[in-house]
Symmetry: C2
Subunit: 212 residues, 2 copies
Amino acid sequence: FPVFGLVRLLGLAAAAAIVVWAVHFRGGMALSSETDKLLIFNVHPVLMLIGLVVLNGEAILAYKTVPGTKKLKKLVHLALQFLAMLLSLIGLWTVWKFHDERQIDHLYTLHSWLGLSCIIFFSLQWATGFYTFWYPGGSRSGRASLLPWHVFFGLFLYVLAIATSVSGLLEKSIFMQSAKMIGRFSTEAMFMNSLGMLLVLLGALVILAVVT
Amino acid sequence: FPVFGLVRLLGLAAAAAIVVWAVHFRGGMALSSETDKLLIFNVHPVLMLIGLVVLNGEAILAYKTVPGTKKLKKLVHLALQFLAMLLSLIGLWTVWKFHDERQIDHLYTLHSWLGLSCIIFFSLQWATGFYTFWYPGGSRSGRASLLPWHVFFGLFLYVLAIATSVSGLLEKSIFMQSAKMIGRFSTEAMFMNSLGMLLVLLGALVILAVVT
Ligand code: HEM
Ligand code: HEM
Ligand code: HEM
Ligand code: HEM
Ligand SMILES: O=C1O[C@H]([C@@H](O)CO)C(O)=C1O
């Protein structure tokens, strides 16, 4: 049963879907705008989802999908996770800037609490992973005793990133419904719900691929 | 490191918190009411969280926490999961009734899609678990080959129940903020966010207790 191919397919579908959502449904993205601040917001879901969900998933599976030496697999793993971390930091910056420019409070929602924890712990996980397994690298026994925790915490953060994305999709949809921008059963609302369900399926398959 | 005790403590804290929320912040619960339909709604989070999160977690750990014979552990596991299933069905019925009586659409949110999937698959998991491992019970090899899937799918549903509860807390908080019933940084909003974070921690510890 070709779980790696399916994961890649669903990951690409999710990445495509969030871009389609931002561009087709929400009118595009921008890093700064005087007329439509929402274009700045739109960058956030795209970078978060592609970074902390899609690239994170590919990075986790790299040890099983990348051919060649262990060193190469490791390099792909750490490089993809670095890219994921970078995108998540830029995605955080864009939503923060949007809140500042529209004078919306920071960190008042459960989504934002989950999200900030996610980003902080992801960055810490990257730094300790790099320090332990790449440079300077711990002793053989130090590495061996840290690895189970690296794996457990890495999978925890992956699942947390999916739960955070799902909560972000939900709250955005509800904000737009409350503001009468979209209807409860509008194509866009159904599209966002479906993307949320897709993320849950993708997450289950990535975990399955790791544990089997 | 006493992870089972900590899980029980956090589970009890979460159960207490959702009851405090319903009673203290939301004015109580009722199975029917002419004057305040929201009292009917309030039953939903309480039963869902106590059933599919707290009891589900205790049931999953029963093989490791209940002393005595394997048969007894199994009986506690299946009985607690039955209770969890029952509470979830009643909790579904109450929110459905609330929507009917207030003429709110059904199943338009991502929370409701996740939640309905959760309840359906939980009931299927219970039925196939009972049929395979209790009565009439499959062959030894049938049981052995189904068990890893029972465990994987059981843990998946547990995590899904937590993600669904988190999304429910988030949307309820945002509904109330949009309706100006509570403020963004009100005690109640902070209480709900904290409960959501507590559920994430509880979930991580239950999974940790199972895999170690
Ligand atoms: C793992 C992925 C994600 C992370 C780590 C994350 C993180 C965050 C953080 C930290 C904030 C707070 C910004 C502030 O207070 O100034 C925020 C806000 C927001 N995010 Fe996300 N986000 C993620 C995915 C998404 C997705 C997929 C959506 C979908 C549309 C989304 C929608 C929102 C919205 C609407 C806000 C503004 C309201 C609020 O503060 O909750 N997020 N996000
Ligand atoms: C936030 C970033 C990171 C996350 C979320 C993460 C997550 C994971 C996960 C889930 C696994 C288990 C994969 C499997 O068993 O198939 C893993 C394995 C591993 N990771 Fe990371 N990782 C991160 C960063 C790093 C970095 C920077 C390094 C440095 C080289 C690293 C080194 C390793 C190693 C050596 C393994 C074990 C591979 C093996 O022998 O099976 N990780 N990581
Ligand atoms: C695993 C736990 C949960 C499950 C399976 C679940 C399931 C559901 C389902 C199926 C609905 C749709 C009812 C309808 O369409 O008529 C619903 C609605 C709702 N639930 Fe939950 N729920 C859970 C936990 C929670 C929690 C903890 C809260 C916190 C307050 C909550 C808040 C809501 C709200 C506000 C609605 C009405 C809006 C909507 O349809 O999304 N739920 N829930
Ligand atoms: C929706 C309901 C259920 C869920 C979510 C569920 C979940 C789980 C989980 C997560 C485990 C792994 C526990 C561990 O490894 O420590 C497990 C083990 C098991 N469950 Fe269930 N279960 C359910 C219903 C049932 C029912 C009704 C039976 C019937 C007897 C059953 C029989 C078993 C057995 C025999 C084991 C293996 C215990 C062992 O030998 O380690 N389960 N279940
Ligand atoms: O009924 C059971 O099935 C499994 C196992 O025997 C299958 O190999 C188990 O632990 C039981 O109690």
